[in-house]
């Protein structure tokens, strides 16, 4: 019993200690540090608490390890229900290590809410649209990235145990933090027959030797021991189902797409998010944030799918090229062609199943860690000659950035260590919170620019006006009524893809009245030549869509008199009703 008491006391001390390490979350949120999983949840809830009239907290579901996944909806109920407005979906951190993606989401939410009363543009935007924001999808990955020793690239996977090396043991050979510093760095061993040597003026950096040169080091790989004694190091760490390969479109098995999982939506995490999305048919724009490389990627994600319809590419180009300007250095690219092929990724699932327009934002450019005066950048060709390749010069520059802008926090100097198998080795290299993440002082710029790219696309979701532009009497009690739908934004009311693949019914334009009968109705193909394609059955309901910056015109021949209601109903552009009298 005594022992039990001691444990309880210890528990309180520890939890108090843990708590004190965490920053208190206040609104407005700060963007000069990274949010742990717990802090992130607090931040989402704090935003909701600070702006209850404009936000709704969304419990998305449980992750594979049982953590809560939270989202936040930004919508002004006074201007309508969320699903009656164009929906913009934004998420991040589907890969556990790609943490700043969540900060972009948080920032976007905060920026919209904070400026609602201050800035007319933002007020209009928030009143007309709806934002669904899930800052962190892979909450388990985020938790373990912060809490466990990692490289900047590890802990990407969802937490579903898998036997990666097919040896009958599951997750048995993970990297080990041998020196206990919270980072998984690299191991190297002095070796006259090694393939690497240090640079004379920068001993922290190694380069490959040329033929005939004497070697100095052998690079042993990431920090760890061969836990399962099979001769391979760190080949079966926790996971590996890749959150961004487990979705239902063009899914391919694990042997051809590593990280696919055993079947689409094997993960509770992806299943929960898909469930949420399935209830939001109004989502027309999707942003999924990752790191790194400075890219705005669009599909297709594999070649055999073929290119998207030309009309859709026009929309992508309009949004993508503008995003390139908003965030200089980022390139707008096609995923399979300019990066690599993926199967079963989230974005393609959104585009192919719901017909949405979507981008993956790969945040952060290594080159932004620059250490150059104007003069030096002008004569970069010569300075590059100092090193055999540009990669080495970049590393050299990043080390200087580390020394003078991060005071050594990004790179761990090589230190001797006694390895149980390799003997005397050295451990060192880039730390966990480096390489793919901006140093905290650069975070605010990154989140603001990327949130602005989202805002630009959000502004371009369809906004449709309906006008009855021509009513003519043909004979007694027989009228021709012409209706025009005008979309003042770049994004159409349906993607061409959704129409071609028949993903769901098209927008509907219908005419009703108690004392009327609709004799005929159709789409006006050419207004000046009076070319109309009539719909043979049920002329009172027309299926249509309105392209970006364009119009759609329909005609009804109506017999009767009295009050008439014309309704336009669109998944993306909402519902419009117009009443008038036939006299």
């Amino acid at each position: 019993m005594k022992r039990f008491k001691r444990i309880i006391i210890l528990y309180f001390i520890f939890s108090a200690l843990l708590f004190s390490q965490q920053k208190k979350i206040t609104i407005p949120l700060s963007f000069d540090y990274y949010y742990t999983y717990d802090m992130l949840v607090q931040a989402i809830k704090a935003l909701n608490a600070a702006y209850p009239k404009l936000t709704e907290l969304n419990y998305i579901g449980k992750s594979d390890e049982g953590r809560d996944i939270w989202g936040i909806t930004i919508n002004n109920p006074k201007t309508g229900k969320d699903i009656d407005k164009p929906g913009i979906y934004v998420d991040g951190n589907i890969h556990g290590n790609e943490i700043q993606a969540s900060e972009v989401c948080l920032y976007l939410a905060q920026y919209l809410l904070e400026n609602y009363d201050k800035n007319q543009e933002i007020k209009d935007l928030v009143d007309k649209k709806c934002f669904y924001i899930i800052p962190s999808i892979n909450v388990d990955g985020r938790f373990h990235f912060f809490n466990d020793p990692n490289t900047s690239s590890s802990n990407r996977s969802l937490r579903i145990p898998k036997d990666d090396d097919n040896d009958g043991l599951i997750d048995e050979d993970y990297p080990d933090d041998l020196d206990g510093d919270g980072n998984i760095c690299l191991m190297r061993k002095k070796d006259p027959f090694g393939k690497m040597k240090t640079l004379p003026d920068e001993p922290r950096l190694m380069v490959s030797i040329k033929t005939g040169e004497k070697g100095e080091w052998t690079l042993l790989g990431t920090e760890g021991i061969d836990n399962d004694e099979d001769g391979k190091y760190n080949e079966d760490s926790e996971g590996y189902v890749d959150g961004n390969r487990n979705w239902g479109y063009n899914w391919k098995p694990n042997y051809i797409q590593s990280g696919a999982g055993d079947y689409p939506f094997e993960s509770k995490t992806t299943t929960a998010v898909a469930e949420f999305i399935s209830k939001k048919p109004n989502i027309c724009v999707v942003w999924a944030f990752h790191n790194n490389g400075g890219m705005y990627l669009r599909g297709p994600s594999s070649k055999e799918q073929g290119e998207y319809p030309a009309d859709d590419i026009t929309v992508y180009n309009y949004l993508g090229e503008q995003a390139e300007r908003i965030t200089p250095g980022y390139r707008y690219m096609i995923s399979w062609k300019d990066l690599y092929t993926t199967y079963g990724d989230f974005l393609e699932w959104m585009c192919m199943t719901y017909g949405a327009y979507g981008f993956v934002g790969e945040l952060f450019i290594t080159e932004s860690e620059s250490f150059k005066s104007i003069k030096e950048s002008k004569k970069s060709p010569e300075s590059a000659q100092q090193d055999s390749d540009s990669r080495t010069s970049l590393q050299r520059e990043r080390l200087k950035f580390n020394d003078h802008l991060a005071q050594g926090e990004l790179f761990k100097d090589w230190k001797p260590f006694k390895h149980p198998v390799y003997g005397d080795i050295e451990i060192g290299g880039w730390v966990k919170m480096s390489s793919r993440l901006p140093a905290p002082f650069m975070l605010k710029d990154l989140v603001h620019r990327n949130a602005s790219s989202v805002i630009f696309s959000a502004k371009n979701t369809p906004e449709v006006e309906l006008e009855v532009f021509d009513v003519q009497s043909i004979s007694k009690d027989l009228y021709r009524v012409r209706v025009r739908l005008i979309n003042s934004k770049a994004i159409p009311t349906m993607s061409k893809y959704a129409i071609l693949k028949k993903l769901y019914p098209m927008d509907m334009l219908s005419i009703k009245g108690e004392k009327i009968k609709v004799v005929a109705g159709g789409k006006i193909q050419n207004l000046f030549n009076n070319e109309v394609t009539y719909k043979e059955y049920k002329p009172e309901i027309q299926f249509t869509y309105v392209p970006g910056f364009s119009k759609a015109e329909h005609e009804f021949i109506v017999s009767g008199k009295g009050k008439i209601v014309i309704t336009y109903n669109s998944r993306w552009a909402g519902k419009i009703e117009k009443e008038f009298e036939l006299k």
């Binding site: 001769g231 391979k232 098995p253 042997y255 797409q257 079947y263 199943t353 769901y504 019914p505 059955y537």
Partner: protein, 662 residues
Amino acid sequence: MKYLKSFYLIFFIIGFAFSQKINFSHYHSISDIEKILNNLSNSKIAKRIILTKTLKGNNLSLVQIGNSEKGKPAILVAANMEGDLPLATEASLYLINHILNDKKMSDDYVWYIIPCGNPDAFQRYFEKPLHESNLNFHENNDDLDENIDEDGCEDLNGDGFITQMRVKDPLGEWIPIEGDSRILRRAKPERGEKGIYKLYSEGIDNDNDGLYNEDPKGGVSVGCNFPQFFRYFTSTDGKWPGSESESKSIMKFVNENKNIAIVIVFGSTNICLNKMYGGRKEEVNTSRIILNRRMAAFLNADPSQSYSLEEIIEMVKNSSPPDMDVNENTVREMLGIGSFVNPLSEDVKIYEEISQKYKNFLKTINLDFKRIEPEKEKDGSFEVYSYYQLGLPTFSLDFFPIPEAADVKNEDMLSLSQIEKLSKDEFLSLGKEKIEKILKNYNAPPNINYDKIVELFKSEKMDVKKFSDLLKKTAITVEQDSELQKMNSMIAYGKKNGFETFIDWKTYKHPQLGEVEIGGFKPYVFTTPPDSLMERLIKLQVPFVNELVSLLPKIKINRVEVKSKGNGIYEIKAFIENEGYLPYPMANGIRTNKIKPIILTFNNKDIKIIDGKKRTLIKKINGKGIELVKWMVYSDKPLKLKLLAETDSALNDSYDFELRGE
């Protein structure tokens, strides 16, 4: 308390007795099956697992018979995944009954039996009117209009069956076949044929959109909702593979139970009679791959030139560290060039041999007649998922072989392949009447008559080969031919066995179409023999399952040899054998990387291994094959050891031996 005990005992006996006495005089409905499965819980060796509940609230059940132990092979029998094959469900019940009555079957194996993979569709077989459908009840707006599931079929003439309606129409596409005006085929306008009828399923146009029965209740065809060759963007196969709780829960189960050694599907295909369907085109031509710039730079290759997959594998090997495992899979993944799409040649050999066994089996049960071909494996079906993704030996059985009817009206008609084999003189000696019959039968163009043919043959402008090639083009396509053959055979089979297959066309006053005729083949008639024939068919054919199971791989340690090398050093040689017929795993199991290797370990963890591994992995042992594994170990004193061989699904074995000096 005592009372309770005896109550349980009685219950147990009744329950077991019931399970032993399933009556196969009629098809079992969902509630019948529920009763049978509920009673299983009284048997010590069987239990029912509910994989999921369907949208209609039906249970998707799996029956486990036999206790699962490590290494004990499990047999997955997946019946009626389509939902419209009651016969397959009966066969699975028969198998359950059979296993419960043969203790050895559950001693040696674990059985996982799914009586029906699509219970909601299955339920339709027991509803009036009878309407054949393999769809579950997932809402689906088939016609993309303003309403969902608003236009299904109606039993207009009240005969209890949803059949067809034919209407004379100038735009009709269908004509009756010669010899049987009941049966319709598509007219061939390119041959001057003019359609007479329009054909609809029985019902009215409920939503007045000019289309008949185009948006019925539901749904998704669960049997096509699996990931291999899944067809996106159809109105029936689901939005994505596993979009239905039925298919997803089945995939979850089969992936979590690594003891499954073989998959046997009871359905509409027969991967015992025929080997798996092949001949699919790869997504990418692997003999001519063009590398993108990034990849080309990495491999030191020329981006403007094309390479074969084999060449690229070599290049990748050359530019990777030596310990990196580079194989076809890794390179395919690197290049993003899809999965394998045809049965692997090593497996095809095995399928061919088993097909021979199956044909011999059919002889012994007198079902070796020429029959209507079973269906090909469907894209997205469980069969192809199992073979291409689970990497398991996969077989299937259908149980309703319809004997191919001799073509009565054309008994003396030569087939095209027969004609092809004739010499010029043999052909001409057939005479005017026969040759003209041939011309008519194969729809030769009207300008080609007997005289013309003789003239062409004599001037050597035409020979027999050219002639038969011409007829091949003009004849009704092979597909239509086999469809007609199937219909004729069905009618003949029904006649012979005294049951009605076809409901004769009768006129009916349709509110929208005016005068129509309602009739056609009875629903389910091609897949579901009448009650009276059912028991015999499954009783004869289900036992082939025993034969398939007897082929399973069995991993044994044949022997261990120890040789002392002096100074406490020993060489250990172990001979690991696969006593079964099938390899462990099959070639697809290696490709999919889903089957765990055979793992060899010593029971003594402290043994000092000088050469060799603590855990030795054997990737594959062929059927009846043997693999040699060697270690060099050190022990300063004699040591008793045990070698363990473990597998997930092909048994475990151990072998005791000793290290000692000579």
